[in-house]
């Protein structure tokens, strides 16, 4: 095993082109797997010294670009995330526990793509895109096309996540992340990320993503689009939760049964939407 610590993105990409190379971001997942003898990369490319990956920048239009090496604690405390973008900081604040949040990075977590992790639904609800860089250059991939399957992403071999890009959330929207877990800091049994805007009883912005209920986070843009412009009462929420449930593909695991996930996630969506509407009405 070889250990390299490049100090630029270009050098990191170059180092990643070797067979068996793996990115070492915060180490929270990769080193745990190495300790358990589950992986043994031929080359570890530590991104520690790539300063450009550690920043978060808010552009004038409200777009926030979060470097891949930004740690969970920093994202949880990120004041540049505003309105509906707060869905991401709420999710970051619920990952694991303080020492792990001091280590783990958004790039590392997303590249590992555990379906029960907290970022995937939050990023999907925030309409985030991934900025990727590889030997052939840069590209961006929407979150919905990034998380493909169990622990599988759109990353090509030799490619790394440079940043996560959150578009501006419309002013006045609210973002929230709700997680059900066995104990504090555990991976989710089910989770709900949402961004909601209401104007005088009419829904102006609606994005709801459900985590841990399938190989990738689940979102129903088609139904969301139909609900824009109308109220968001029991019947409308029911339309959305029914549609989401159709797209669930959960499994039984040590955290909960698939059957429970199918039943509880719609209830969590409903509750999260009710609470988000309350929050919106309180801020008016």
């Amino acid at each position: 095993m070889e250990f390299v610590r490049p100090d630029s993105i270009e050098a990191a990409v170059a180092a990643l082109q070797a067979d068996g190379a793996a990115c070492l971001a915060g180490g929270a997942t990769l080193v745990a797997m190495m300790n358990a003898d589950l992986v043994a990369p031929d080359r570890l490319v530590s991104l520690r010294d790539v300063a450009a990956l550690r920043d978060a920048i808010r552009r004038p239009d409200g777009t926030v670009v979060i470097g891949a090496m930004r740690r969970h604690r920093e994202t949880a405390e990120e004041t540049d995330l505003r309105d509906g973008q707060r869905v991401l900081s709420e999710a970051a604040a619920q990952i694991a526990n303080p020492p792990v949040r001091n280590m783990g990075t958004i790039g590392g977590s997303c590249a590992f793509a555990d379906p029960a992790a907290d970022y995937p639904p939050a990023l999907l609800a925030a309409d985030a895109r991934f900025a990727l860089i590889g030997a052939v250059g840069r590209r961006t991939v929407p979150a919905g096309d990034f998380f493909l399957d169990w622990y599988e992403t759109a990353l090509e071999p030799g490619e790394l996540i440079e940043a996560v890009i959150l578009p501006p959330a419309p002013a006045g929207t609210v973002g929230s992340y709700t997680k059900l877990a066995r104990v504090a800091g555990d991976f989710a049994i089910a989770s709900v990320a949402l961004v909601l805007g209401m104007d005088g009883g009419a829904c102006t912005h609606l994005a709801v993503a459900v985590g841990a209920c399938g190989p990738a986070p689940v979102r129903r843009r088609d139904v969301e689009a139909e609900l824009i412009g109308g109220g968001l009462g029991d019947a409308e929420i029911r339309r959305l939760t029914d549609a989401l449930a159709e797209a669930f593909d959960p499994v039984d695991d040590v955290r909960a049964s698939a059957d429970y996930r199918r039943r509880v996630a719609p209830r969590m969506v409903r509750q999260a939407l009710v609470e988000a509407q309350q929050r919106l009405s309180e801020t008016l």
């Binding site: 104990v183 504090a184 555990d186 040590v254 039943r263 509880v264 969590m268």
Partner: protein, 775 residues
Amino acid sequence: MTPLDTSATGVGASLPRLDAREKVTGRAQYIADMVRPGMLHAAVHASPHAHARILGYDTAEAQAVPGVACVLTGDDFPDGRMGAFIKDEPAIAKGKVRYPGEPVAVVAAEDEETARRAAALIRVDYEDLPVAATPEEAVAPDAPLIHEGLADYFKVFPAICGGNVASETELSEGDVDAAWADCDVIVEGDFETPAQAHLSIEPVGALAEVDAEGRVTLWSANQSVFRVQANVCEALQLPMSKLRCLTPKVGAGFGNKMEPHVQPLVVQLALRTGRPVKLILNRTEDFETVRARHPFKIRCKTGAKKDGTLVARELTAVLDCGAYGDDSPGVLGYSLLMSRGPYRIPHCRASGKLVYTNRMRFGAFRGFGNPQVTFATESQIDEIAGRLGMDPLDLRLKNRMQPGDRWFGGGDVASNGLAECIEKAREASDWARGRALPAPPGKRRALGVAACAHISGLLATGAIVRLLEDGSVVLNTGAVDIGQGSDTVLTQMCASALKVPADRVATASPDTDGSPYNWGTTASRVTYTTGRSVVAAADKVAEQIKRHASEIFECAVEDLELRDGGRVGIKGVPDKELSFFEVSGRAHWAAGGPIVGTDTWVYNQPSVDPKRAIARGLPFPQIGVYSFGCMIAAVEIDETTGKADVVEVWSAMDVGKAINPGSVEGQIEGGFVQGMGFALTEEMVFDGPRLANPSMMDYKAPTSLDAPFDIHSIIVEAAEPGGPFGAKGIGEIGLVPVPAAIANAVAAAIGTRLRRLPLTPERVLDGMLEGGDED
């Protein structure tokens, strides 16, 4: 040096732990921290099979790895077998494997990485055998036999066994079958509890070193140096004089470190290599191979009259033993002994079966079967209260054992603080008001109660108290302090008995060469049993001090008294006194010296009175004295998900006398949270014979955010005659009522009785949606 507040040191003071400074500075040495010159590191090759015959080994590749000193397989181990009740377990698999993860071969190498790499290169040829993964499978007519030699194994009690049944036990009083006709209300149900992992934060490990004469010194994470010595010597067929067992600091034991784990493996490696060998299991190995709380299936039936008088109880339990007997027959017998609870129920029958399976062995875990049966029995007390429209606390008070009443089976109960526990918990929780408190929006809220009892006692113990030349004291008991604080408590007792400050007493670390026998730190027994010996030994020292002083003063022994600060003087004559320094200095030169007090005893009160009860296959003829407790838990349930959280708890426990109240509270608080994990989140999930969640990622114990901060410890002191300063045990009882109290709160909140632990969000939500059939 920053002084710690040790202004009060005697019995009744919350003296900080004697080893607190060592622990907060990171200097305390645990087994993994130990290094010996020339030490080798060991690793285990574990069985991938649940049940298979071993046809042969190929260790050539492992032997060839540079740095490997020794590879041993079952062929390299003697034929001895160990076991606390049934001698059924070899040091390492021989001939066949009986559970996945069972050690099959071991490697010692210059470093741990090399040892692990080499262990993975060992090839073993197996012939698969049919598997019995559950007690149901194991008692089926065509079940494979897990221990072909069961009938011939040595057993320490009259075991009723056969086939895959390791032990059957029955205990009864009165005429249960006839009594049901006298009952106006009968509740009946099937209860189920899962395997719980001890999850000591320290994984187990051991280090053995052999001297030029071939005598072995063994350090290990343990709860009894004497049980380690006995187990290793039985398994390896060594004379006990050839093995000395010591203990470093122990990173907690909740039963998991009482009986053997890897100690025989390192001893054999040390004997073969002539070098020190250390083996520390990783977390997954610790999960898969050490031991866990028994899964119980319980059928329970309880009947009462209209006025709430309890009349009859019948309980049957089936325990998954796992592949080896370990402490299991004791757990079965003890759980049945606890199945009547702390009540007057004139007609009672409890019976159970312990069944070998091809799973990891199950064994002792804080509560020793009592939390499981108490979950069932205390659930039924609430069910009866519900049926009769009675307050659950009133029903418990009405039926509680009264002073002078005997335990189920006929054992004497000398002290009983149950009524005070119930009343104090009722008052502190503001029960009547608390039950009616509204829930926060989106939640359901309820209080739940459970009462219980537990023993402290069992078997042999001893103490040696010596006066050094300067009058300071050395106490040696052989009891391992596993972190619960027994060294501090025993030191306080010794100091109080001799009227010296605690810092004048040095407490020796257990050593099978120099300490008096101590069965172990288990059964909530050290404060009570070892404390008794400490006080008796200290009293003998006091007598000798007085005898020497009487020779100096030329007065009668009866005219002398001990005075605070380590002095002896003539009663009524304040200036006629000597320091222990003066007395002990003389005693090192004079006939009758030096001053040493020793005491040994075996707990000897019978648990069964044959005139009252019928007992078959019960492994404990003498069990112990009784502590009592009552716990009230306030639970909130999220209506969206069904997740239950304990928000506040009141735990009133009768400890006889709190020698160190801070430590007593620590046991109550820690026991509560461990019990809460058992009730709500913890479950070892098995896929057939194999553990599916052997990691801390997948097996979840409560964190500081899950545990309620508002745990109110209420200390009740119903002095135990014969107990040291009136004390009895507190190590386990704080956990015993937890699942029942939480389950009763959940039932009150959702209107449905849940009879299977853990009370996961899924089960609670199902119950809530079903709703309303609580009766």
